[in-house]
């Protein structure tokens, strides 16, 4: 409204950029030089959106575009919401145009296959107690690519609903969540399969990445930190892989629940302090593997509940309150060649039964010897201390940690186990820290 | 000079002093005598403020000494047992006591010569014999020029030559007009040096006066017998 004059002045110039002359187009088609271009691109058009162009809004741009066109959005601020993309399209920002939803609702909703969204700065997503507004939502679509977005002041960030075969790449999601009940998640997947989530940075939302009923997804190289609840949250999602991610200082760490066939490789879980914080919470996880991860300075490294047949190998547990805390009903798990370094407690166990195996780990608390010099300690190591038992019963007793009296009772329990399972031993503890092969 | 008024002292159930009154005036040598446990050392320590009386006052040059400590620079004291920090050398100890008494001008060289302490000056006190330690002890006492000198068993462990030197020293200090208080078990030594005798018995002063007065009172020809007769009479 306010800028009519400059608009009309520049409209000629704008037109020439957006719509090539029809004659030129025909020339292009017949030109042999251009044969190397694919037929697909020949059919596609590029529409330009800018505050001074003929097309001033993204909505208009999307409306005017034909399937497989590209809508280029110039730098500027676009106060829009409820942009519905219902045809295959590339929506690409040039120099990060800002889409300001003015807290009115959802901003971009994708309901078509083959949509690419690239290089936008989306702010002020509406929030509601009844509708989960997102910055970008994908509904029942395939083959999408969402990349290079910056999302701020959001409710939900990127929300996939029954979507398939898509990629979420290199986005930066910076929330300002303060309370769990009125904040949303950074990247949420719901009944979405074969999704690749790579190189995103997510902070200050409720859950960094949330997967529910989503199978065969790969989550790699993301950094999820300072989120209110979980850095990553899995529910009822099977056969997913997550690797090389870093989860730092999240309210409660990472939760993996009610899923099977999960591969967790080479992730870093750091600085998850707090009353109910852990590096990773496993609940009802079966037949999975946890390999090569680093758990450093968490209240609890891994909290395990009702998980069976999980292999833990080549992980580093460094300086955690508890490296591993068993909450019961865990059978046939194998802990092999992990490093347990300077944790206040390596293991906490709440029953006298043990069906889990500990083999060839390095325990920094191990004080045995190796007379035959084969790199394996000659006497077994008992990772469960009596004191960790006491603390389970009476948490306030933690204030006595590393007191001489506690050392004495721990020693006597070590010599003759009364309260801790007596088959819970590592019979072949390593003498030196294991150098993992990180490839 | 020193006025002791009705001093009572009790250690646990043991009443050591039961009302002692004593006035020591001007110069001269007073020997405090008495059987073991009669309270000789206790009186001396009361004067020095090391033992605090249960009752009574001690005045030094007219001033009450309780809760005061500065008056002690008017007193030179020779303790009964000479035991010093083992890691210090004699020289260092001398310097330290001078420093503590704030009398850096005090001259120890005459006394070092007198007791032939020169070869020991750089030796650690822990390595000295009992006799040498006592000489160091004497040196520290006579080094300062205070008007009152208190000697608790000064003769113990001394060789005959040093004993003679000690007597000379006491005589010369007396000439300077000082009050000297001595306790000793060696009766001949007391007889030789003391002008006046205070005899303590069961926490009280049994006798105060000159040796000749004592002999007269007990009707004994010599000093040692006079003392012995007090004891036998009192225990009878």
């Amino acid at each position: 409204m306010e800028s009519k004059t400059p608009n009309s002045l520049l409209s000629d110039h704008g037109k020439s950029v957006i719509e090539p002359h029809p004659v030129k187009r025909i020339l292009t088609i017949v030109s042999f030089l251009m044969i190397s271009f694919s037929g697909y691109s020949l059919m596609a058009e590029t529409l330009q959106v800018c505050t001074t162009c003929k097309i001033k809004t993204i909505k208009e741009g999307v409306k005017n575009a034909r399937p497989y066109d590209t809508v280029l959005v110039d730098k500027g601020t676009y106060r829009e919401y409820n942009i519905r993309i219902d045809k295959p399209l590339v929506l690409k920002g040039v120099n990060y145009p800002v889409i300001d939803g003015e807290l009115k609702g959802e901003i971009i909703t994708i309901t078509s296959d083959d949509v690419t969204i690239d290089g936008l700065f989306i702010i002020n997503v509406g929030s509601s107690y009844t509708v989960d507004y997102a910055a970008v939502r994908v509904i029942k679509s395939e083959n999408f690519l969402i990349q290079n977005l910056v999302l701020e002041k959001l409710f939900f960030g990127i929300y996939l609903e029954k979507a398939k075969n898509g990629r979420i790449y290199h986005n930066n999601i910076i929330g300002d969540a303060e309370e769990e009940y009125n904040s949303g998640n950074g990247i949420q997947l719901w009944y979405s399969h074969n999704i690749e989530i790579d190189q995103n940075i997510i902070t200050h939302v409720r859950d960094g990445i949330y997967l529910e009923f989503s199978d065969n997804c790969t989550i790699t190289n993301n950094r999820s930190s300072e989120n209110l609840r979980y850095g990553l949250h899995f529910m009822f999602s099977n056969n997913d892989l997550y690797s090389q991610n870093t989860f730092r200082n999240n309210g409660a760490g990472v939760a993996v629940m009610f899923s099977k066939g999960i591969k967790m490789h080479h992730n870093t879980f750091k600085h998850n302090w707090g009353t109910a914080a852990y590096g990773m919470l496993l609940k009802e996880i079966n037949d999975s593997e946890i390999i090569g991860n680093t758990f450093q300075q968490n209240t609890v490294g891994i909290n395990i509940e009702g998980s069976n047949r999980v292999t833990y190998s080549n992980n580093d547990f460094i300086g955690n309150g508890w490296a591993i805390k068993f909450r019961g009903a865990c059978y046939t798990n194998l802990f092999k060649e992990n490093n347990f370094l300077y944790n206040s407690f390596d293991l906490s166990y709440n029953s006298k039964l043990n069906d889990n195996k500990f083999e060839g780990n390095y325990w920094s608390e191990y004080t045995g010897y190796d007379l035959d010099k084969d790199g394996v300690g000659d006497i077994p190591f008992r990772p469960v201390k009596l004191f960790s038992y006491v603390v389970n019963r009476t948490p306030e007793a933690i204030i006595l940690l590393r007191s001489l009296f506690i050392d004495i009772i721990d020693f006597s329990e070590k010599v003759s186990p009364v309260f801790t399972p007596d088959n819970l031993v590592d019979n072949i503890p390593k003498m030196k820290r294991i150098q993992h092969d990180r490839n | 000079m020193i006025e002791i008024k009705d001093i009572h002292k009790q250690f646990g159930k043991n009443r050591v002093l039961k009302g002692v009154n004593l006035e020591i005036k001007g110069n001269g040598i007073i020997a405090v005598l008495g059987p073991n446990g009669s309270g000789k050392t206790t009186i001396i320590k009361c004067i020095l403020g090391m033992v605090l009386p249960n009752k009574g006052d001690i005045l030094l040059e007219g001033k009450n000494i309780s809760k005061d400590w500065k008056y002690r620079d008017r007193i030179d004291y020779l303790p009964q047992i000479a035991n010093f920090p083992n890691n210090l050398s004699v020289q260092e100890l001398i310097r330290m006591i001078k420093d503590l008494r704030r009398q850096p001008q005090a001259d120890e060289h005459y006394l070092i010569d007198l007791f032939r302490l020169e070869p020991f000056l750089n030796k650690k006190l822990g390595n000295l014999s009992g006799g040498t330690k006592q000489k160091v002890n004497l040196l520290l006492t006579f080094m300062f020029d205070s008007p009152i000198i208190i000697l608790d068993e000064p003769t113990s462990g001394l060789d005959p030559i040093s004993l003679i030197r000690l007597k000379e020293l006491i005589a010369s200090e007396k000439k300077k007009g000082k009050s000297i208080i001595i306790t000793s078990h060696i009766m001949s030594f007391v007889e030789e040096v003391a002008d006046e005798i205070v005899f303590l018995l069961e926490g009280k002063i049994y006798f105060k006066g000159s040796i000749s007065e004592l002999k007269k009172k007990t009707d004994q020809p010599d000093f040692e017998h006079a003392i012995a007769s007090i004891l036998t009479h009192s225990y009878a």
């Binding site: 300086g319 948490p395 933690i398 590393r402 001489l404 004495i408 | 920090p85 503590l100």
Partner: protein, 260 residues
């Protein structure tokens, strides 16, 4: 008092035992750092040494020095010196020479290790500060006990018992009462019980820098609130100061009323 302090300090600084103590820390530091080559582990071992051995040595030295220098004390008592100066001076002389041995003995290997270029400098300083406090506290307790007991053997026995009580027995009773009353809210009780034992207090202060911060949250809001803020640390240090001041005041009180 400064003069007495100076002479006691010199006296002890020349004694064989000060060197043994100093060399012990030097050796410990070297072994921990250069044979182990892991700073976090070294700091944890050091913490155990500091909260157990430092009080023990302070206790033994305090009692020993008091009884051994008894005659010398009597010599001093006959000098024109204030009584409280004599005893507080001697006490500070012992305590400070021990603290200096500790700081220098441990400091040298850590300086060579490159502590100034490491993040652990604050953890390490905290270790030395609490170690010095514990030295001051237990030497003062030992002096107080020795002042109250003419009998050397008795005094020695009581002093060691005090150490044993603070270092081990107290925690045993503490733990038992926690377990017995586990149905009640215990965090206030635990906090107060910690404050009343300087060894526990030092241990918690050091652990705050090490691993307990990860675990404190686990036990409830009060702990976290207390130790998570500067306020709690301040109160803790204040308590340590009180633990020095009260026995020191007692030494003075006792010394002014004692016969020698």
């Amino acid at each position: 008092m400064l003069k007495i302090l100076k002479y006691s300090f010199y006296d002890l600084m020349r004694s064989r035992w000060s060197y043994v103590y100093f060399l012990f820390y030097l050796l410990l530091g070297i072994v921990l750092l250069f044979l182990n080559n892991n700073l976090s582990k070294a700091v944890i071992t050091l913490m155990n040494v500091i909260i157990i051995l430092v009080p023990l040595i302070g206790t033994i030295f305090g009692v020993m020095y008091y009884y051994n220098s008894k005659e010398f004390t009597e010599l001093l008592l006959a000098q024109p010196i204030n009584r409280s100066s004599i005893f507080l001076g001697q006490y500070l002389g012992v305590a400070l020479s021990l603290a200096v041995s500790l700081i220098i003995g441990l400091g040298i290997p850590f300086v060579f290790y490159g502590i100034f270029r490491s993040d652990a400098i604050w953890d390490f300083s905290l270790l030395l500060i609490t170690g010095s406090f514990l030295t001051l506290i237990f030497t003062a307790l030992a002096f107080s006990i020795a002042l109250c007991n003419e009998n050397k053997i008795k005094g020695f026995g009581y002093a060691i018992l005090t150490w044993l009580f603070m270092a081990v027995i107290y925690d045993g009773i503490f733990l038992l009462s926690l377990i017995m009353f586990e149905d009640y809210p215990l965090d206030t009780f635990s906090l107060i019980a910690t404050m009343f034992n300087p060894i526990d207090l030092s241990r918690v202060l050091i652990l705050l820098k090490l691993d307990i911060s990860a675990l404190l949250g686990y036990t409830g809001a009060l702990f976290q609130k207390f130790f998570g803020t500067g306020f709690g640390v301040l109160i803790s240090f204040l308590m340590l100061v009180l633990w020095v001041v009260i026995p020191a005041w007692f030494i003075r009180h006792k010394a002014l009323r004692k016969d020698f």
